[in-house]
């Protein structure tokens, strides 16, 4: 056992196994991380392998020692079984890999979807034209904030919870049946990246109002202008930011406007 532990070949082999275990099983356990996709695992493993090869070939003596077991397997008469076994195994693996590559299997077409497509400069909301560019949430400047939030809260729980969930993380009890999944407002990639006018547009026009790059045919987001008033939508937008703690992106004040 000791001799194996000191031998560079077995050290290298051990390091490879260890690296694989860390990448495949330990990383997903870290808070905030997910399963590492197999293509990324392959990249990491290639990097680790190159590193190990540089290390073993760094010193002449270590390199010679490293090659020893490889050479032994190739020439030693007593290792004939291992040699033939390895040859057969490698051949079989190559065969299977090639087969899985050439076998024609129908897969779902790739779903290339722009998550935050460019909004139109203006929309028609129940016959009224609303210019989105430069638009802020009008409720932030008028009336009682607590009252607006109470309306937004009621609207959210009566309409949005089945998909977006009571933690606003897109994991409502209907979410599993939908593709694309409902937006996760807790994530820093959704409302935290957007202006309130963008969110208003998405709520008002829903899936059917998406441009082509947003795959409008798949989205289960209703067009809420059929259900809610303008103020109700602005209130629920306020509620989304208040409940998650995110700040909406604001419009850059141009030099001219500031004058």
């Amino acid at each position: 056992m000791r001799t194996y532990l000191r031998h560079p070949f077995w050290q290298a082999a051990g390091l490879l196994v260890l690296a694989y275990l860390v990448i495949a099983f330990v990383i997903p356990l870290l808070p905030g991380s997910a399963m590492v996709p197999s293509s990324v695992v392959l990249q990491y493993m290639a990097t680790v392998l190159v590193g190990i090869l540089i290390w073993v070939s760094d010193e002449e003596a270590r390199w010679t020692q490293f090659k020893e077991p490889l050479h032994e397997v190739l020439v030693q008469p007593r290792l004939k079984m291992v040699r033939n076994g390895l040859l057969a195994a490698v051949t079989l693996v190559v065969g299977c890999l090639t087969y899985s590559q050439v076998r024609a299997s129908v897969a779902a077409p790739p779903n290339l979807r722009s998550i935050h497509p460019a909004p139109p400069p203006q929309i028609t909301f129940r016959g009224k034209t609303i210019t989105l560019v430069g638009l802020d949430n009008p409720l932030r400047r008028s009336g009682d904030m607590a009252a607006h939030l109470a309306v937004g809260r009621r609207v959210y729980y009566q309409n949005c919870v089945p998909c977006h969930g009571d933690h606003l993380d897109g994991q409502g009890h209907f979410a599993a049946g939908l593709n694309p999944l409902p937006a996760n407002f807790q994530d820093n990639g959704t409302i935290a990246q957007l202006t309130e006018s963008f969110v208003f547009w998405r709520v008002a026009k829903g899936g059917p109002g998406l441009p082509r790059e947003g795959t409008p045919w798949n989205s289960a987001m209703p067009a809420w202008e059929d259900f809610l008033t303008e103020d109700e939508i602005w209130s629920v937008v306020l509620f989304l930011y208040d409940q998650t703690g995110w700040k909406p992106r604001t419009w850059e004040v141009s030099a001219e406007a500031a004058k």
């Binding site: 065969g95 809260r153 729980y157 409502g172 798949n218």
Partner: protein
């Protein structure tokens, strides 16, 4: 022991002021500011949110009609209640926050105020071995019948027993007997241990009684009750179904027209979850059909698509009208005038595009639009062998086509519909009736309504787009390159070995 100690320290440090803040922010939307289960979301879900003021809890480790322990309540907060709108909060709130909210929830009821009466959990033993063996399941099945499970849960456990239409909870809300084939939706968890505990404690506030007294009365032994739990567990698949996007339809020699044709047993099955239609008025927040199991095969000229789904009632069935009334009374409707219950049929719709799309663009998943219609097969339980093919241009616009639609055969069997649609691959009317082609990903979607749950029109369960692929037989040329690659690899390997051995013997000779 360590757990008990931890729990004691946890309970000691609970803070109801902090708990109230958490509760108001994250729980009150459903459970209401005063814990009465009457938050703004309450009228959009069945089962409705728990009313904490009565302190009646389904998921407990304590005997029937007793208070739950803190650990019981914490478990429901942590894991949520499967098959309902209640999510698990373990990953969403900190340990401290969940403990605080637990302490606050208990303040809604005076029953928890009397701290001299600490609820004591039942000492559950361990499951006896051999639980999946034929003998154990036979005993389980025998007692499943004799203690009356089948009255509500049905002969085969799909929640379709004779009493099923009459069930309501203590607050008169409608309630379904659990479909025992979907253990991933059991409120308190789907393991044998979870099921056994529910059998021992009952689900307070619901018609599900406790069977603990039957053990005390020596009607059955503890082991026999465990066997019932093991039998119930055996009805569900080992793992909850996973959604795979593409239904593969292999090539067969003959087309199976009947739902129970033996050809189907060897064909892979695909599960697609369905959720309520809440996009168009009138929305439907409480669908009864949770999903469909789909199989498909094709011959050189025809396709057979088999759709199986669990449905507690063979609608139209007037014995469910009172249930429909309770559903309508519990849910808030989009309609200004409340609807009257009627004996509606069960329905299933299979949807395709009008032609196989070349790019990624497809018609709108929810029954197309005026500009881009979809091709649908509409099956109803009142015309079982006569599905209607037609074009939908939006959820309320359906134009039947006069000819060339599919044939269908249907079976209703103990709480389950099994329907097979068959049609020629080719179509004479290619402008509106999709011609099926092999080797292509054909978009497909499913919609289902349970008439005895008040579902009709836009009130139904829906899926998004998935795909159907009619697989072509593997051509022989596919095997050429793997064989070539293997020969090359083996040759190269042998060459390396031979070279190495040559070198070594050469060196030895010197």
């Amino acid at each position: 022991m360590i757990h008990a100690l931890l729990l004691l320290t946890l309970v000691a440090t609970q803070d109801t002021t902090a708990g109230k803040q958490i509760y108001t922010k994250w729980c009150a939307g459903c459970h209401g500011d005063n814990g009465a289960g009457d938050g703004p979301a309450a009228k959009h879900m069945i089962p409705p949110p728990r009313d904490f003021t009565g302190a009646v809890y389904q998921i407990r480790s304590t005997p029937s009609s007793q208070l739950p322990t803190d650990a019981d309540l914490l478990r429901s907060i942590d894991e949520g209640l499967f098959g309902t709108a209640m999510p698990g909060w373990k990953s969403r709130l900190s340990d401290r926050q969940r403990r605080d909210v637990l302490a606050y929830i208990k303040t809604f009821s005076t029953f928890f105020a009397d701290t001299t009466q600490r609820p004591q959990p039942i000492k559950f033993g361990n499951a006896p071995g051999g639980g999946s063996g034929a003998e154990a399941l036979k005993v389980g099945r025998q007692f499943y019948d004799s203690i009356g499970c089948r009255k509500c849960h049905g002969d085969l456990g799909r929640g379709d027993g004779p009493s099923a239409p009459t069930l309501k909870d203590d607050a008169q809300h409608p309630i379904f007997a659990a479909n025992l084939h979907e253990n991933w939706r059991f409120n308190g968890g789907g393991t044998v241990e979870d099921i056994y505990r529910r059998l021992r404690t009952g689900l307070d506030g619901t018609p599900m009684p406790s069977f603990g007294d039957l053990i005390e009365n020596k009607f059955l032994t503890d082991e026999q009750l465990w066997r019932v739990a093991q039998y119930v567990r055996s009805l569900s698949p080992k793992d909850a179904p996973v959604v795979r996007d593409v239904v593969h339809a292999p090539l067969t020699k003959s087309l199976p027209h009947a739902p129970d044709d033996s050809t189907w047993t060897a064909v892979a099955v695909y599960w697609f979850p369905l959720v309520g239609q809440i996009i168009h008025k009138a929305r439907w927040f409480s669908p009864a059909v949770t999903g469909v199991w789909v199989k498909a095969v094709h011959t050189a000229d025809s396709i057979a698509l088999r759709v199986v789904w669990d449905d507690r009632s063979q609608s139209p069935d007037t014995s469910w009208l009172a249930h429909v009334g309770r559903v309508f009374a519990t849910l808030q409707s989009d309609d200004s005038t409340p609807e009257q219950p009627a004996p509606w049929p069960d329905q299933l719709i299979v949807q395709f595009p009008v032609s196989i799309p070349t790019g990624m663009e497809r018609p709108y998943f929810l029954m197309g639009s005026s500009g881009a219609p979809v091709y649908q097969w509409r099956w109803s339980s009142i015309a079982r062998t006569a599905p209607v093919a037609g074009l939908a241009r939006g959820i309320d616009r359906f134009e039947p086509l006069s000819s060339g639609g599919p044939a269908a055969q249907a079976v209703y069997d103990h709480g389950q519909w099994r329907v097979v649609f068959t049609r020629a691959l080719a179509s004479t009317d290619t402008a509106s009736q999709l011609p099926f082609r092999t080797g292509r990903a054909i978009p497909v979607a499913f919609f289902a309504s349970d008439g005895s749950n008040g579902e009709h029109g836009s009130r139904m369960a829906v899926s998004t787009w998935y795909f159907l692929a009619l697989d072509e037989p593997v051509p022989a040329r596919v095997f050429i390159s793997p064989v070539l690659a293997m020969v090359l690899t083996l040759g190269l390997g042998m060459l390396v070995v031979w070279r190495a051995q040559q070198k070594t013997s050469y060196r030895r000779q010197q």
